[in-house]
Symmetry: C2
């Protein structure tokens, strides 16, 4: 078993973050691919020959992603295309992924299923795995990935994923960091706070929603938090991150009427 | 001057809802076009030869929309392509609209500008009119359309539009109604509540956000509320609707930790 969550990792290169004989988690080197748009972090999880692609990203990311995913699995090994919520930076490539992985189930919050055709996806009904509001598990290889509600953070029907093998928490938009930094893994927590603060204040609905999510994820044994934007939060910073969220006033907390 | 907000209007046919010598508001007959997806209501506002297209909708709606818009204006008269927020049911057609209306400015909340390339839009920077969080006005013909903050309802950067000529409030997702009904204009308020209740409870972030919006729009002289989903709320039901929102517990109000 080997965990590779190192501050030396490049955000523009794919890297295996966890590996054992039957299980692998890969970062797909997605940062900086599409210069004009907000950066995304996409991941691939493989267990015993079955894969889940986590947050495939926008339209222009697709060629890069197909090339990277194909380094690690054949496309017919992809069992789930998972989307933490409905935004274009997560789902913009969905019509092409549906074409190249026709066997894969599109896993997304049930609220958003009928919104997906608006991306240009045909016959969504037969391909979808609607995630219920209370969460679920997704069978990948010999394990189940846990799907944890993260509603209103920011989407009304948003989820995080927990992999019980690597102990990685794929947090979706929670943990988003924006700004001019060039690392994949947080090394200096205090300086990273500058990149976390503003997007969390704007995007996250309020402190109550954050605490509801914390009440679920604090029970987990976590090796690293892997958000969909920003940088990976390693084990030694996880409790700092949770404290930051626990005390943050954000979203509707900041509205005065 | 003529207002045409009648319960006899068909949701599947385009109709002029307001008209005077220099000003026109058109419903574009968008309900039911794309069977597999959530229905949208799209509108065109024209003043003195300049137009704003309000919430163009998803990918598959585009051919219908181009045909309908072209009945009322030439495509080079479209000055603004307005998107109340970033979801695919609002923005999925954005790459094609940018191609056929290269002169038009894409008006969307500033938070979402860098998310738009993920729909497959190129060179967004030169085409965009970023709406600041506090709202703005958009000059169309001889008037200004008012852009009113509607944050967290549901999107963190979501807006409503007010047309001071027709006195129509284009409310975006607020007023969403889902279910098996077949009218464009609400006639029976009590039965319409059944279609409003569940989507508002799930999508709207909380009662505080609703009250913040109400504190802005209650100052306006409103002839009708035109949401992006559901049905138009005529003048005689506007205060019922505001009372419904004022008292609604929704979103994070319903979370228990």
């Amino acid at each position: 078993m080997s965990i590779n969550i190192s501050p030396q990792l490049s955000p523009t290169e794919d890297a295996v973050l966890y590996e054992d004989k039957n299980h692998k988690v890969v970062y797909l080197g997605t940062k900086g691919i599409d210069k004009g748009s907000v950066d995304v972090l996409s991941y691939l999880l493989v267990d015993n020959g079955e894969a889940i692609l986590i947050d495939p990203g926008g339209y222009y990311l697709f060629p890069h992603m197909v090339q990277k995913v194909s380094k690690y699995v054949t496309l017919d090994q992809v069992k789930f295309l998972y989307f933490c919520h409905q935004d274009p930076d997560v789902c913009g490539s969905i019509p092409m992924w549906k074409d190249v992985c026709p066997q894969a189930k599109i896993a997304i919050g049930e609220l958003w299923v009928r919104f997906l055709p608006h991306f240009g996806v045909e016959d969504i009904e037969g391909s979808v795995f609607p995630i219920p509001a209370e969460g679920t598990t997704l069978p990948v290889g010999k394990f189940h990935v846990e799907v944890i509600p993260a509603h209103y953070l920011h989407s009304p029907n948003h989820f995080s994923l927990y992999d019980p093998v690597s102990k990685f928490l794929f947090s979706g938009d929670i943990g988003i960091a924006l700004g001019n930094f060039n690392y994949l893994v947080v090394n200096d927590w205090v300086s990273h706070l500058d990149y976390l603060y503003t997007p969390h204040r704007i995007l996250m609905a309020n402190n109550k929603a954050l605490r509801a999510w914390l009440s679920k994820v604090r029970k987990l044994d976590i090796e690293a938090i892997l958000p969909q934007h920003g940088a990976v939060i390693p084990k030694n910073s996880v409790e700092y991150f949770f404290k930051f969220l626990e005390n943050l006033k954000c979203g509707t907390d900041l509205i005065s009427i």
